[in-house]
């Protein structure tokens, strides 16, 4: 089951309203995406904490064989 880039962005946006979010469809198959999320809230967090909160925003889309998203390469950081 594929997912649209816009849907991924919307889910992340709901949790991080002010973030800079860039979604790239890596393979053009709606299954392999890269997401870069830049948000002020990340400043005090380590990478595990940052990415855990992005995964939480995706609400189970990443989960297992039934998840819509097989592969999401995540980059998270605070604004420069």
């Amino acid at each position: 089951m594929a997912i649209q880039a816009q849907e991924i962005e919307d889910l992340i946006r709901a949790a991080f309203p002010k973030a800079t979010i860039t979604i790239t469809d890596l393979a053009g198959d709606g299954n392999h995406y890269a997401a870069e999320v830049i948000d002020e809230s990340f400043r005090s967090q380590n990478r595990v904490q940052q990415q855990r909160s992005v995964y939480a925003a995706l609400k189970g889309k990443m989960d297992g064989p039934n998840g819509a998203l097989h592969a999401l390469a995540l980059t998270t950081k605070a604004p420069e």
């Binding site: 595990v48 990415q51 855990r52 989960d63």
Partner: protein, 120 residues
Amino acid sequence: MSDQQTEIQNTVSGNDVVLFMKGTKMMPQCGFSSKVAGVLNYMGVEFADVNVLEDDGIRQGIKDFSDWPTVPQLYVKGEFIGGCDIITEMTLSGELDQLLDEKGVGYSKDAADKIREANA
């Protein structure tokens, strides 16, 4: 804690470096797992590999254990370090070297430098 979670805890506690992955370090079965295992192999880090594809209980259990939805997952001295993206970033930034130094885990600094040179 369930038996499953106890078993995972014992594995994580009983090995300095553990990679939960799809496939084995000699034969990875997913690109993300392959990438992390490849970095560790190349850097000469000794690590235990756990193939989550061989056990559905561990495959789900490790995600509950770390509250992290994806595999691979790297643990060093009992601490969850991250998945493929984090390990890649840390390798290229030198933070992985620093972490291994701090934790007293052996690796080849030359090999780590070569990875960074090749990706500069």
